[in-house]
C-alpha cells in the first residue's frame, strides 16, 4: 500500500538520517550488503529482547547498538504492526515523492483541505505557474475546489517552482504535497 500522504519534509528527514550515518562509519572496512543485513539482524535482536545496548566485535569489526527510551518514533519504521493484505487500497498519491536529497532545503506546499486540484482558474485559462517559474510569497499557485468553493492556494515563500507534484483536475487530500519550491533560488 502506498502512503497516502507525506508528512512534512522535516519529519521524513529525521527518519532517513541513519542511512547516511552508517555509510560514513564504514571507513576502515567497506560495508557490504551482507554486513548491513547483519546489523539489521542485530537491531532486530536488540529490539526483540528489549535491550538497551548491544556491542559485538570480531576481527576488528565492532558494532555497538544502543536504545534510548523515548528516542524512537511512535510509529516504528521497522513496522512491527501486522498489516492487512492491501486488497487494492488506493491512495490519492499515486507516485512516490522525490527522494530526500531532492527536497532538503526546499519548501513543500501542501493542500490545507481535501478537494480537487486545478492548476488554472478555468479550463481554457493558462496555468497559474509552471515548473521553473519564479514566484513571490502570497502569489496564487493553484486552486483546490471543495464544496463548490474555489480555494486559492498561495505560495508561502519567494522562490522557484522545482516540481509540481499533483495533477490538474485530480483529487488531493489533506496535507498532500502540491509544489516543491526552492526558496534560495532568485530570479
Amino acid at each position: 500500500m502506498n502512503t497516502h500522504h507525506i508528512p512534512s519534509s522535516k519529519k521524513r528527514m529525521s527518519r532517513r538520517q541513519p542511512a547516511e550515518d552508517t555509510d560514513q562509519t564504514g571507513e576502515a572496512r567497506l560495508l557490504t550488503v551482507e554486513h548491513l543485513r547483519q546489523v539489521q539482524d542485530l537491531i532486530t535482536l536488540l529490539r526483540k529482547n528489549n535491550l538497551t545496548e548491544l556491542e559485538i566485535e570480531q576481527q576488528g569489526f565492532r558494532v555497538r547498538l544502543r536504545y534510548e527510551v523515548g528516542v524512537r518514533p511512535a510509529t516504528g519504521s521497522l513496522t512491527d504492526t501486522a498489516v492487512v493484505p492491501p486488497q487494492g487500497n488506493q491512495s490519492l498519491v499515486k507516485e512516490a515523492t522525490p527522494s530526500e536529497e531532492d527536497t532538503s532545503g526546499l519548501v513543500t506546499i501542501t493542500s490545507p483541505i481535501v478537494g480537487t486540484f486545478y492548476r488554472s482558474p478555468s479550463p481554457d485559462a493558462d496555468p497559474y505557474v509552471e515548473e521553473g517559474d519564479y514566484v513571490k510569497k502570497g502569489q496564487v499557485l493553484c486552486i483546490v475546489e471543495a464544496m463548490k468553493l474555489m480555494n486559492e492556494i498561495e505560495s508561502e515563500t519567494d522562490g522557484r517552482i522545482v516540481k509540481i507534484l499533483a495533477e490538474s483536475t485530480k483529487p488531493v487530500e489533506y496535507g498532500q504535497p502540491l509544489f516543491l519550491i526552492d526558496p534560495k533560488a532568485r530570479a
Binding site: 500522504h5 510509529t75 512491527d80 487494492g88 488506493q90 483541505i113 487530500e173 489533506y174
Partner: protein, 446 residues
C-alpha cells in the same frame, strides 16, 4: 444498493462498518487524520483520504473536508458511525442536499431528538410515560424550583443538548438547586454550546434499559428487544447485556410497543434506540432517543442474529424492512465489555504503543476491535479500543464465557479496563443480575 460508501469514523466502528460493506459487496472509503494514517480501519478500506490533523474538530468532525473527501471519491453514501458527526443534524442535512445519502435517520429526526426537552414534550403529549419532570427547557431558576417542588426531591438537571453524562447535576435539597442549576447551565454551554437545561425526578438505583428500533421509509417500525446498560461509571456505560434480567416477556412487549409508538410519533427512519429508565417497581419512563448505531449494538445482534449495520445500510438505501416483528426471536444471552485504554482504577486514559495483542476466540466469543500488535493508541480520541462480546444459551453461560474470555485477552504496553471487567463479572450480585446504575460506584467504593 450503494456502490461505494465513505466511513466517516475511525477505530472499531469504522472497521465494523467496512466489514458490513464488504459483506454486502460495497466498496469503502476510509477517512483519517494524520495521527491515524497507519490505522487498521484505513488499511481495511478500498480507498482512503486524509482529512486533517490529529484534532478531531479539524479532521473527523471537519464537515467541509469530510464532504470533499466524499465528493472526490465519488461515494453514494456516508456512514457516520457513532460520535463525531453521527448526531449532527446539519451534517446530515448537507449530505442530503448534495445528493449523498446519510446512513442514519433524517436530519429532522436528529434535530428533534437532539433537543432532549422537546423530545420529552412530544412523547408526553402522546400519552407515553416520561420521567416526571419539567416539559420543555427551563427558562430560569424560578421555573426550575417550581418544577422540582412539584415532583419532589431528589431531582436531576440535564442539558437539553446533552449526552454522555455532561451537563448533569443531581439535587437533593431545595437549597442546593440554585447553585446546581447555574453549574449545569455553564457546563452545558461549554460542552454543547447551548445552555438549555431541564429537570427530572432522580431515581435511586434505577436500571438503564434501551430498546433497539428499526424503521423503513414506508413507515414500518419494529423493535429488537432491549439492552440493559445499568453498569455505568459517571453515566458512561461499561457493560451491556441483552436481554435484561429485569425484563420479562410481558414487560418486553410493553417496552417495545411504547418504543415503536414513540418512533412513529416522530416519523423516525433507519435504526435508533429508545432509552428508558426502569425503577424498582418496574415502572418505566421514556428518557431519550439515540439517533445512531450504538456502541453496544452487538449484544442485540448476538441474541437476534440480525446484522444491525447491514440492516442500517439497507434501510438507508431504501429497502423495506426484511423482518417482521413476529419473526424477531431472541435466543440466549449476550454481554459486551467495553475495553478502554484506561487505568482500571483511576480511569485515566492511557495512550501508548500496544506491544502485545491477542484477542480471545472460540465458541460464543466476538471481538470488535481495530487493535493489532504494534498499534498505537493515540491520545486524541475516545479510549475505547475493543469490545469483547460473548453469547451463551443463557445468562450464566454468557457470564462464564466472558470470564474465560477476559482471562485470555492479552493487551500489553498500555493499561486497560480488563481487570475492572473481571471484578464486575466475579461479583455475586452482578452474577445474579441484581444491579442498577449505582452498582459500579458501590463496587468501586473503598
Amino acid at each position: 444498493m450503494f456502490k461505494k460508501v465513505l466511513v466517516a469514523n475511525r477505530g472499531e466502528i469504522a472497521l465494523r462498518v467496512i466489514q458490513a460493506c464488504k459483506e454486502l459487496g460495497i466498496k469503502t472509503v476510509a477517512i483519517h487524520s494524520e495521527a491515524d494514517s497507519e490505522a487498521l480501519h484505513v488499511r481495511a478500506a478500498d480507498e482512503k483520504v486524509c482529512v486533517g490533523p490529529a484534532e478531531a474538530s479539524l479532521s473527523y468532525r471537519n464537515i467541509p473536508n469530510v464532504l470533499s473527501a466524499a465528493e472526490i471519491t465519488g461515494v453514494d453514501a456516508i456512514h457516520p458511525g457513532y460520535g463525531f458527526l453521527a448526531e449532527n443534524a446539519h451534517f446530515a442535512e448537507v449530505c442530503e442536499s448534495i445528493g449523498i445519502k446519510f446512513i442514519g435517520p433524517t436530519s429532522e429526526n436528529i434535530a428533534l431528538m437532539g433537543d432532549k426537552a422537546k423530545a420529552r414534550e412530544i412523547i408526553a403529549k402522546r400519552g407515553l410515560p416520561v420521567t416526571p419532570g419539567s416539559l420543555g427547557e427551563l427558562r430560569n431558576e424560578e421555573e426550575a424550583m417550581q418544577a422540582a417542588k412539584k415532583i419532589g426531591f431528589p431531582v436531576i438537571i440535564k442539558a437539553t443538548a446533552g449526552g454522555g453524562g455532561r451537563g448533569m447535576r443531581v439535587v437533593n435539597r431545595a437549597e442546593d438547586l440554585s447553585r446546581a442549576f447555574q453549574a449545569a447551565q455553564a457546563e452545558a454551554k461549554s460542552t454543547f454550546g447551548h445552555e438549555g437545561v431541564y429537570l427530572e425526578r432522580y431515581f435511586l438505583e434505577p436500571r438503564h434499559i434501551e430498546v433497539q428500533v428499526l424503521a423503513d421509509y414506508r413507515g414500518h417500525v419494529i423493535h429488537l428487544g432491549e439492552r440493559d446498560c445499568s453498569i455505568q461509571r459517571r453515566h458512561q456505560k461499561l457493560v451491556e447485556e441483552s436481554p435484561s434480567p429485569a425484563v420479562d416477556d410481558k414487560l418486553r412487549r410493553e417496552l417495545g410497543r411504547v418504543a415503536i409508538e414513540a418512533m412513529k410519533a416522530v416519523h423516525y427512519r433507519n435504526v435508533g434506540t429508545v432509552e428508558f429508565l426502569l425503577d424498582k417497581e418496574r415502572n418505566f419512563f421514556f428518557m431519550e432517543v439515540n439517533t445512531r448505531i450504538q456502541v453496544e449494538h452487538p449484544v442485540t445482534e448476538m441474541v437476534t442474529g440480525i446484522d444491525l449495520v447491514k440492516e442500517q445500510i439497507r434501510l438507508a438505501a431504501g429497502y423495506p424492512l426484511s423482518i417482521r416483528q413476529q419473526d424477531v426471536v431472541m435466543t440466549g444471552h449476550s454481554f459486551e465489555c467495553r475495553i478502554n485504554a484506561e487505568d482500571p482504577e483511576k480511569f485515566i486514559p492511557c495512550p501508548g504503543r500496544v506491544t502485545k495483542y491477542r484477542a480471545p476466540g472460540g465458541f460464543g466469543v466476538r471481538v470488535d476491535s481495530a487493535m493489532e500488535p504494534g498499534a498505537t493508541v493515540v491520545p486524541h480520541y475516545d479510549s475505547l479500543i475493543a469490545k469483547l462480546i460473548t453469547h451463551g444459551k443463557d445468562r450464566q453461560e454468557a457470564i462464564a464465557r466472558m470470564r474465560r474470555a477476559l482471562g485470555e485477552f492479552v493487551i500489553e504496553g498500555i493499561n486497560t479496563t480488563i481487570p475492572l471487567h473481571q471484578k464486575i463479572f466475579d461479583d455475586v450480585d452482578f452474577q445474579k443480575g441484581h444491579v442498577s446504575t449505582t452498582f459500579l460506584d458501590q463496587l468501586l467504593a473503598p
